[in-house]
């Protein structure tokens, strides 16, 4: 059971809403954080917590694209492919990643480190092409930069090139 050891976190979440069901999306995020994806047992557990049926949870989770219903690689690379990023070369980013990791969209690398997805607009249109890896944004990508980020992730588990609090254009130094 995922939530047994997270009673405080769940309590805190539930206290934010007058209606329990509102905590559904946040609880699904916790399930995904704990297991890497949203499993069926987790959905059943959430249903119990919120007095819902498992099918109500399933109905909701399948509407949203950020929940993975199957296990994926340690790092989920999501490349924005919408028009604004496409104008500045997002299709190249997919190519660069393919060259480097030998995976195409929808695939996971053989070492289970990376899963590649192409997704629709991530709200970073002025700093495209861009990708999101797990929670972090990486923007104004070049082939060199992408290679560097993937190497760092593999070797150190994090990359120094992730975006901080957003401001673009940046202030002149």
């Amino acid at each position: 059971m995922i939530f047994d050891k997270l009673k405080d976190e769940v309590e805190k979440l539930l206290s934010r809403y007058p209606v329990k069901r509102s905590a559904l999306l946040p609880l699904l995020y916790i399930a995904q954080r704990e297991e890497g994806y949203v499993s069926e047992p987790a959905m059943k557990e959430i249903a119990m917590l919120l007095d819902l049926t498992p099918s109500q949870v399933y109905e909701t989770v399948t509407f949203y694209s950020m929940y993975n219903l199957k296990p994926i690689g340690k790092y989920h690379i999501q490349v924005c492919r919408s028009l604004m990023c496409a104008l500045v070369g997002s299709d190249n980013v997919v190519e660069w990643i393919h060259k480097k990791l030998e995976i195409t969209p929808g695939q996971t690398s053989s070492d289970k480190n990376f899963t590649l997805s192409v997704v629709e607009c991530l709200g970073s249109c002025g700093t495209g092409p861009m990708m999101q890896v797990n929670d972090d944004y990486y923007e104004r990508l070049t082939e060199e930069k992408v290679g560097h980020i993937l190497d760092e992730l593999k070797q150190k588990g994090s990359s120094s090139m992730k975006s901080g609090p957003f401001m673009f254009p940046q202030l002149a130094k």
């Binding site: 909701t60 492919r81 604004m84 104008l87 249109c125």
Partner: protein
């Protein structure tokens, strides 16, 4: 362009400013909240916001004060404020900057709004991908609570205002206000039929105001400096105040720029944005996010206010300006947006659900040089059957790339179809097999 004063970016453009509570207070932050809590009547605040001419910055441009005035004053029981931070309109990335660089400006605007409409609870519905923004807001809320600006006894008044961050999970449609409410209730984010409007039947069927991040960030400044000051900025009465425009595409200096309403697209793209990326002439631009119809170089001198852009056949929408240079294929551009809308259709209304899939398949076969002459009429016919026949404005939005590119660049569609016809041995019997999008 004449010199002007920035309002929303003023703090964050101070060297070294990171948006902490201390810095925000040091630059006059939370003064407006103090003024309001010193005993301003909610009716007076609504009147001030009405007089200021502030219109919603999310896309529809509805007058903010008027929206607030729809909340029933004597309603027993809870009312809610929701800050729409879903920022899902392609081409738009301003709210991210407002939240991550100066979160207290947004929180102060929210607290004043809560006081005005009588809400004790407010939610910031932020798009799921903005994980960093959500962390920054959570931290800022905690700091504001410690300082007495939020919590159960705001500024010693005994009044309660709690703000919570609620992350979405990757659905464009949740930027539509009633879909946002559904999603916040833990359901699939499908828009509700209106009326009733959120002002009377919103979150949990209670009176609710939904305002965009940028709209709320303007509130403290209007309270501090008065309605007349704000109403005189920009292009009153068509558009008061400044607006943050997001430049993207083939422009030299993309990014967020705060300018007074009413500058022209030419000034925005060529002066502020530095002109075209590789000095190739401009071919097309989208003036207000993916939902806004494409415009052409002849519209460059249109003023960027709600009404002028509407008159030019498009909309100011969310303020996302996407610029395309000569050489960009307009069928391809429309297809990319169509694929977005197909992916994001929530599936509630048949014309949109079925129509988006049909449109995307037709566009894809034209782009693959497998189209037929009749496809052009088919596309327009489909668009007509979607527009105005859906619960929310998504229907109008999804047809706009096709309708507008067909209006201005029909020859590019025809060219692709000519190529298809030429490569087809016997065009009468050949019906291309459709692939799933």
């Amino acid at each position: 362009m004449a010199k002007y004063e920035k309002i929303l970016f003023k703090n964050m453009e101070q060297p070294g400013y990171v948006g902490s509570l201390k810095e925000y207070e040091h630059l006059g932050g939370y003064q407006a909240l103090r003024t309001v809590f010193a005993g301003m009547a909610p009716a007076d605040i609504i009147e001030t916001v009405k007089q200021s001419g502030l219109r919603g910055r999310g896309g529809a441009g509805f007058p903010t004060g008027v929206k607030w005035s729809f909340i029933p004053k004597d309603h027993p029981g809870p009312k809610y404020l929701c800050c729409n931070a879903d920022e899902s309109e392609p081409g738009t990335f301003k709210d991210r900057q407002l939240m991550e660089r100066d979160p207290h400006q947004v929180l102060e605007g929210m607290a004043i709004t809560c006081y005005t409409i009588g809400a004790e609870t407010a939610y910031i519905y932020i798009r799921g991908e903005f994980w960093l923004g959500a962390q920054i807001l959570e931290r800022a809320i905690e700091d504001a609570k410690q300082a007495g600006y939020l919590g159960s006894d705001v500024l010693g008044s005994g009044k309660t205002i709690n703000i919570y961050v609620h992350r979405g999970a990757g659905a464009y449609i949740c930027g539509e206000e009633t879909a946002l409410l559904e999603s916040l209730e833990g359901k699939r984010g499908k828009p509700r039929f209106k009326p009733p409007f959120p002002a009377t039947h919103g979150l949990y069927q209670k009176p609710t105001v939904v305002n965009n991040v940028e709209t709320l960030a303007n509130i403290p400044h209007i309270m501090n400096r008065g309605a007349e000051w704000f109403a005189a900025i920009g292009e009153p009465p068509k558009g008061s105040g400044t607006r943050i425009f997001c430049l993207s595409g083939h422009v030299k200096r993309p990014g967020n720029y705060e300018v007074p309403m009413g500058v022209t697209f030419r000034e925005m793209i060529y002066e502020v944005g530095g002109g075209m990326r590789s000095n190739t002439p401009l071919k097309a631009f989208i003036p207000g996010g993916a939902s806004a119809p494409f415009l052409t170089p002849e519209h460059l001198d249109v003023k960027m206010d709600f009404e002028s852009v509407a008159k030019a056949g498009s909309m100011l929408g969310s303020g996302g300006i996407t610029v395309m240079e000569e050489g960009t294929n307009m069928v391809w551009a429309a297809l990319r947006l169509m694929e977005f809308f197909y992916h994001e259709s929530c599936g509630k209304c048949t014309p949109c659900r079925e129509g988006s899939s049909w449109l995307v398949q037709t566009m894809q076969r034209i782009w693959r040089r497998e189209g037929r002459t009749s496809d052009l009429d088919l596309l327009l016919d489909l668009c007509k059957s979607i527009e105005g026949r859906t619960v929310c404005a998504f229907g109008e939005a999804e047809v706009s790339p096709i309708v507008s590119t067909m209006r201005h660049w029909r020859s590019e569609y025809e060219e692709l179809i000519r190529e298809a016809e030429a490569s087809r041995p016997n065009s009468k019997q050949e019906i291309p097999v459709l692939s799933q999008a």
